[in-house]
């Protein structure tokens, strides 16, 4: 018996030793070099002990990774397992888009990135143990993308059968029924990815990456692994279905073209914006004045605009996990001065809201109001829609805390469907000193409040100054000038050739 136990112990010891040998932990020099770099470049977020206790952690969501936990989102390994060295290197190289984790490619050398990866591994003893050598989930080479309806329908069926929509929403906008209640490993609310925006995927966004993501799951988050439940034959169909729902780049614009029409604008007309091109603008956190919002709920807004002889109407659309329509919201509500990210995002206290911000007087030259809420010298006209109510109002902004009513009549409609708000606001093309002239570039900026994130007052998502271009109602035809110039050139040519021939002819006669 004793012999047997000894044998076992020796065997286990031998197995562990051999596993240890195979574990890819780098050399002492590599880890030491990694530590030096880590303390300079990474520790203020990930913590000097790799435990994510740092000065930045109270502010950012998702929180910087706690390396002592061994939970890595982006992996090529089976669910629940540790990442490979290459996985960690890839995360460092590419960063995690739309979080505070930057991409280090081009800033750090490949050798430095490798050293860092080995140092990160040293924060969790498991990397040195038997689990330190994880099984890699093979991702076969991707077949070409196919938008064959049968193939996509099959992908859709897999999407439904596996309840992706529960979290990600019916069209992948991140608005599933359970989305408001999801938590990550560290007890913070986590939003399911808005699948339609591939540029925001944390673990990269090629078709192979999407395949890998649902095969391996994202450790530390509710995003599960489907390695067991989705058959091999269905996997690329699901990838292509996700692909078909999404775009690869945001294609951010700087100008939205408003289309002029001669018949009066009718907000009830479902085709009102059918001919207006859409421009997509980034929305970022207001981190400039007190009431800072470090984790805005909305990251982009799609805008279309039309106008008639007296009014202009804008359609604003954005993806929102949930519609908060209880309670109220207003730009002049007080928001706390010092405002770390809250764990308790909770619906119910504040409603969703949106605002269009214009100069209150047509700008002379480049000068315009301060883009936050205007200033006393250059006030702002704010078209504000509190989505708890079904009306919009015009306000006058002379700075944060200096927002008053104004009485320009604003009409609006609002609707929330499957994770997307669609708001239309219509106002006069002439508001005192502010006019929307044809052919003018009218400065505009946008603010969005996500009630779920407790955004109110100055705690909001906002944009820089952009422009609405007022494309004239009477489009001049380009044919006329084209024909005119072509004709002139033709006549000159004929005259020249005629003249030359005539003179040559005369010379021949003599």
């Amino acid at each position: 018996m004793i012999r047997f136990i000894t044998l076992c112990t020796v065997l286990i010891w031998a197995a562990e030793a051999s596993a240890q040998q195979a574990n890819d932990l780098g050399t002492d020099e590599q880890r030491e070099a990694g530590k030096v770099l880590y303390d300079i470049k990474c520790a203020h977020c990930h913590g000097y002990s790799g435990d994510a206790i740092s000065v930045a952690t109270p502010f950012v969501r998702p929180t910087p990774r706690d390396f002592t936990s061994g939970n890595y989102k982006s992996r090529s390994t089976a669910s629940g397992e540790l990442p490979t060295t290459e996985d960690i290197r890839r995360s460092i190289r590419l960063g995690m888009p739309y979080t505070s984790m930057p991409a280090w490619e081009g800033i750090l050398s490949e050798a430095e990135i490798t050293n860092l990866a080995y140092y990160l591994k040293s924060f969790d003893a498991a990397f040195a143990g038997p689990y330190g050598n994880p099984t890699v989930v093979e991702v076969p080479p991707a077949p070409g993308y196919s938008d064959d309806p049968d193939h996509l329908a099959r992908g859709r069926a897999v999407f439904e059968a596996n309840q992706c929509a529960d979290c990600h929403g019916d069209n992948g906008r991140g608005n599933g029924l359970s989305a408001p209640d999801l938590e990550d490993e560290w007890g913070f609310h986590i939003r399911p990815a808005d699948m339609t925006k591939r540029w925001t995927y944390r673990a990269s966004s090629t078709r192979e990456d999407i395949y890998r993501t649902f095969m391996t799951g994202l450790n530390g988050t509710p995003m599960p692994s489907y390695q067991q439940s989705i058959e091999e034959a269905d996997r690329w169909a699901l990838v292509d279905y996700v692909w078909s729902l999404s775009r690869s780049t945001p294609d951010y614009g700087t100008v939205a073209t408003a289309i002029g029409q001669s018949q009066a604008l009718d907000l009830g007309d479902p085709l009102l914006f059918a001919d207006a091109p859409e421009a997509y603008f980034p929305i970022v956190g207001q981190v400039i004045e007190p009431g800072r919002e470090f984790n805005p709920g909305v990251n982009g807004i799609a805008v279309r605009a039309v106008f008639d002889t007296t009014h202009i109407a804008l359609q604003l659309r954005w993806h929102d996990m949930t519609a908060e329509t209880a309670s109220h919201n207003h730009p002049s509500l007080p928001a706390p001065l010092f405002n770390p990210a809250q764990a308790d995002t909770s619906a119910g206290d504040w409603s969703d809201a949106v605002a269009l911000l214009w100069p209150a007087a047509t700008p002379v030259g480049l000068e315009r109001p301060y883009f936050m809420f205007g200033d006393t010298k250059n006030p702002m006209s704010i078209w504000f829609a509190d989505l708890a109510t079904d009306s919009a109002a015009a306000l006058l902004g002379q700075g944060t805390g200096l927002i008053t009513e104004s009485d320009w009549p604003i009409e609006s409609t609002a609707g929330y469907e499957d994770g997307m708000w669609t708001i239309v606001m219509k106002g006069p093309r002439r508001m005192g000193e502010m006019t929307f002239e044809e052919r003018a570039f009218v400065p505009v900026s946008f603010s969005v409040w996500d009630g779920f994130n407790r955004e109110r007052g100055n705690k909001r998502g906002l944009s820089a100054w952009y422009h609405i271009y007022m494309e004239p109602i009477e489009q001049e035809s380009v044919l006329l000038p084209m024909a005119k110039w072509a004709l002139i050139v033709l006549l000159v040519e004929l005259a020249l050739v005629g003249l030359v021939r005539w003179r040559a002819g005369r010379r021949d006669e003599y």
Binding site: H44, E289, W485
Partner: protein, 275 residues
Amino acid sequence: MNLLVLLTIAAVLVVIQVGVTRWVNLNRLAWMAIWWAALWAAFSYGITPPLPQSIVVLFMAIITIALLAYLSADSEELAQARQTLVSFMVEKRYQVALIVVILTLPLLVALSVFSSLNQAPQPPASGRTIHPVPPASISFEGNTINLSTANNPYRELEHSDPEAFAAHVDNGRRVYFENCFYCHGDNMEGAGQFAHGYDPLPANFNDATTIAMLQESYLFWRIAKGAPGLPPESTPWSSAMPAWENFLTEEEIWDVILFLYEFTGFEPRAQGMPH
């Protein structure tokens, strides 16, 4: 300067020039056309950043006149060139080519009119002065700070008390990673998480034209007063740079300045040197 393009053009010209004098009798007009095209290509593609279209047009007008003058200086060459043109317009064997030319020219003109009228209208360009002249003094929490004489009070600790200095730098690191990296980026390259949503873009402190050429008192002004403190030529209405007097103490601002230089490895410009 795009050397590759310029060298290619020069090489082509040399080959043609040598070829013309040695072997072929290139028509004077063709020779002119080649020179004209080569110079146009050099101006349009050989120079970076590209010259504005209007400048290229101006240059080409001058070159056209120069080439014509060159041609007309020699009456034999002029006669040769004229003869070519006349025979092209008169002789029967060129008739088809002539008709083609007569018809294509107006078409090309119509096309260029179309593209010039169809250009998407451009919003007004906003030039801004990145480093305006700072005010003589600012007030901070009731105190007046003279910007031409103010020094970072903790800078001297670097030599007199390295430990205390390190503590100040570390406090600056804290300030930076609580407040600044959303815009200026955690590597200070101006590419923070929210940078893409602001215009003008947040300053890149690794660039030799920002903090490397500024005095610490200048930074103090920019950090304390932010965008609202800028003069109109620096478009205070569109810059996202916060006025940190709302959030930070005087000491915290001097500390974060120490940290900016420490992290990027630059030295501040000494007091007394002009901006």
